[in-house]
């Protein structure tokens, strides 16, 4: 789960990590109230889960009272990479002497956290020079390691103390909340050497959410994603017109690649997991049929224990109850396929021997529209 900046900062605050004075606003009235509290000049920051806000013009400075309303309205309606903001954060301007980059991320190959820091903050970490990378156990960072890192970064005096304090708190936060990523970019070093988190990018391990009821309030799923989750499906909505359904994430990804290779555009990715029954296929069809651009459905099922006649029954039921009206192109490898073929005769669902054939038919009929 990717948290919004203000949510990450709320959690940082609970761990004693200093953040700027701020106020979340969804309406101009709330923004005016916030501006009174914080004082102008201030910064308006669009609350998005996609990166590259600064470059996209979704962070604006407000230097006078008159600028607040037009700039606030500009941001509220501004889409970045197809995403509208979920609120605008008003924040005080910090008196920055120096910026740092700081992040803890789960290192998949090394199976631990890596602490990455750089004396060059505010830029993308890929392009930062003089990165210091330290591997630390998931239980957390020791003050000694934090101090060594501060020295490597060239920090001195109060800044060393502030760095040790900040990183050990960030580490405790990441371990306790089971974050895959906790990034502060930039950390601002103020005139007195103290440090403040100007941004927050936090990703929580979805699979650990059952242990964190306190984070439940940050969950943000669409109605369709909610329906998919209830059924145990993985759904990713895409912008094309062929919905792809299958049993297994790898298989559905592979099918998506082949659809795109054949010149088609995928409208949905749906993995319904291990169980291919009449009910699961019916439910999967019901979910993808609600996506507006979908003009055809490609079903790719593989597995020795799949009963294709049961799947065919799910397809027939879905047509009968008008759950779906678009054509289905299916490759179903499993038992009873001859019977399934007979059952589907005369319906808008067709069975193919290979996934390549099913994709060709789907792209020819609906894919290029």
């Amino acid at each position: 789960m990717r948290l919004l900046e203000y949510q990450g900062k709320e959690l940082f605050d609970q761990y004693g990590i200093r953040i700027p004075r701020s106020h979340l606003a969804n309406t101009i009235e709330e923004a005016k109230k916030g501006a009174k509290k914080i004082g102008i000049p201030l910064v308006l920051k669009s609350q998005l889960t996609v990166g590259g806000r600064g470059k996209a013009g979704a962070i604006l400075k407000v230097k006078s009272d008159a600028e607040l309303e037009p700039k606030f309205n500009e941001l509220v309606h501004k889409e970045v990479k197809g995403e509208l903001p979920r609120g605008i954060l008003l924040e005080e301007m910090a008196d920055i002497k120096q910026e740092l980059y700081l992040s803890l991320f789960l290192n998949r190959s090394k199976r631990c956290y890596s602490l990455i820091s750089s004396a060059e903050g505010g830029v993308e970490i890929e392009s930062a020079s003089n990165k210091v990378v330290v591997d630390i156990p998931i239980e957390g960072l020791t003050p000694q390691v934090a101090e060594d890192t501060a020295t490597k970064l060239g920090l001195k005096g109060n800044a060393v103390v502030a760095f040790v304090d900040l990183t050990t708190k960030l580490s405790r936060f990441a371990s306790e909340k089971e974050a895959e990523l906790a990034e502060i970019n930039p950390v601002a070093i103020l005139g007195d050497g103290s440090m403040i988190a100007l941004d927050a990018k936090v990703i929580i391990d979805d699979n650990a959410m059952f242990r964190h009821p306190e984070l439940k309030k940050y969950e943000h799923v669409s109605e369709l994603e909610r329906q998919a989750e209830v059924s145990g499906f993985s759904l990713v909505e895409l912008d094309g017109n062929i919905a792809i359904i299958g049993n297994g994430a790898g298989l559905v990804m592979s099918t998506l690649d082949l659809v795109v290779d054949a010149g088609g555009k995928a409208g949905a990715f749906l993995d319904f997991g291990g169980r291919a029954t009449t009910e699961t296929i019916y439910e999967a069809l019901r979910v993808v049929s609600q996506i507006k651009n979908v003009k055809g459905i490609l079903v790719n099922l593989f597995g020795g224990i799949v009963r294709t006649d049961l799947v065919a029954q799910g397809l027939l039921d879905a047509y009968k109850n008008n759950v779906i009206t678009v054509p289905v192109f299916a490759r179903i490898s499993g038992a009873e396929s001859e019977r399934a073929r007979q059952m589907l005769r005369g319906s808008r669902a067709k069975l193919y021997n290979t996934v390549e054939e099913a994709i060709q038919a789907a792209v020819a009929e609906v894919g290029r529209k």
């Binding site: 996609v50 990166g51 789960l106 998949r108 190959s109 199976r111 631990c112 890929e126 998931i138 371990s175 089971e178 895959e180 391990d205 979805d206 699979n207 650990a208 059952f210 242990r211 993985s234 990713v236 895409l238 299958g246 049993n247 297994g248 994430a249 790898g250 298989l251 559905v252 990804m253 592979s254 998506l256 690649d257 082949l258 659809v259 795109v260 290779d261 995928a266 990715f269 993995d271 291990g274 593989f302 597995g303 020795g304 224990i305 490898s333 290979t354 390549e356």
Partner: protein, 300 residues
């Protein structure tokens, strides 16, 4: 790594029926697959379900904990079929009882739990496969996992796969073209794997009965990149062919598997294909192309 001999643990020096314990044997998932594993030839010697010790399932004795089950059977292998929230305790119980190979089937295990289990396994000289894996199969001998039987035929190729269904699909294609398998092992779809690709390659690099390796990957992480590096730097001598799913997936979206997500270039299909190319590993465009590429590679 060569000190961990997965073949010896699973099938001894040949086709031995080594005892296997199923944790979560009375659950709906565990019971279904216990029947299927038994039908395939796996020697399921015991099951464990806390609170159900003393009962039996299909003639298999059920114990309350792994210590009792291991004492009674001498098993070194356990298949874990419990729901994710109970995984950590089940896995630690198994390792502390002396299990050497844990096959961790559940999906949705928290990352920190996986790491704790891997760390404990290291101190015990044991190994985990998974979590979020379809399991391991020695075709026509035994299987510990949820894979169907039909796609697999005995032979000398090995398949390692981050995806379950693609392991079936690719193995099926290989079987149909005469490339049977000595072992198929599901790495798992999670960001953290008990046995990663490099460790998996180490399991077979010196095996005389393995003549080629097929590695089925997907977007996310840098396991394929690290593997490509390993193939070059350790002069891995057996022919290797790869497949990667997710070329057309959007960035920053989790594609069904917890581990299948691209951030920037980290985890992208292009990065993996480029690195494989440097290592001389051909990458199939579709699962059906894998046997053709393997045939070309083996002719060389």
């Amino acid at each position: 790594m060569a000190d961990f001999d997965i073949f010896d643990i699973l099938v001894g020096n040949g086709d031995e029926k080594k005892p296997v314990i199923v944790q979560g044997i009375t659950g709906s998932y565990g019971s279904t697959h216990t029947r299927l594993m038994k039908a395939y030839g796996t020697n399921i010697a015991a099951g464990v379900t806390p609170g159900k010790g003393g009962q039996s399932f299909e003639g298999i004795p059920v114990y309350n904990d792994m210590a009792d089950a291991v004492r009674a059977t001498g098993a070194q292998v356990s298949g874990i079929f419990v729901p994710a929230p109970f995984f950590l305790n089940a896995a630690i119980d198994a390792l502390d009882a002396g299990i050497k190979l844990l096959v961790a089937i559940p999906e949705h295990v928290p990352i920190s739990d996986s790491i704790k289990v891997i760390e404990r396994a290291k101190t015990k000289g044991a190994r985990m496969v998974g979590p979020n894996t379809a399991g391991v199969i020695v075709p026509e001998v035994m299987k510990v996992g949820i894979m169907p039987a039909q796609p697999f035929k005995r032979g000398n190729t090995v398949v390692f796969s981050r995806s379950g269904t693609l392991m079936y699909e690719v193995s099926f294609n290989l079987s149909n073209k005469g490339y049977g398998q000595r072992l198929c092992l599901g790495i798992g779809g999670d960001p953290i794997n008990g046995t990663n690709l490099i460790e998996a390659f180490d399991l077979v690099r010196d095996r005389p009965d393995v003549d080629s390796v097929v590695v089925v990957g997907e977007i996310g992480g840098d396991a394929e990149e690290q593997l490509a590096d390993y193939v070059v730097h350790t002069s891995f001598s057996k022919p290797v062919v790869a497949y990667i799913a997710g070329r057309a997936a959007p960035k920053e979206k989790r594609m069904g598997h917890a581990g299948a997500i691209v951030y920037g270039n980290y985890g992208s299909a292009e990065s993996k294909v480029t690195n494989y190319a440097k290592a001389g590993v051909p990458v199939a465009k579709r699962p059906a192309e894998v046997p053709e590429l393997l045939a070309q590679k083996m002719r060389k």
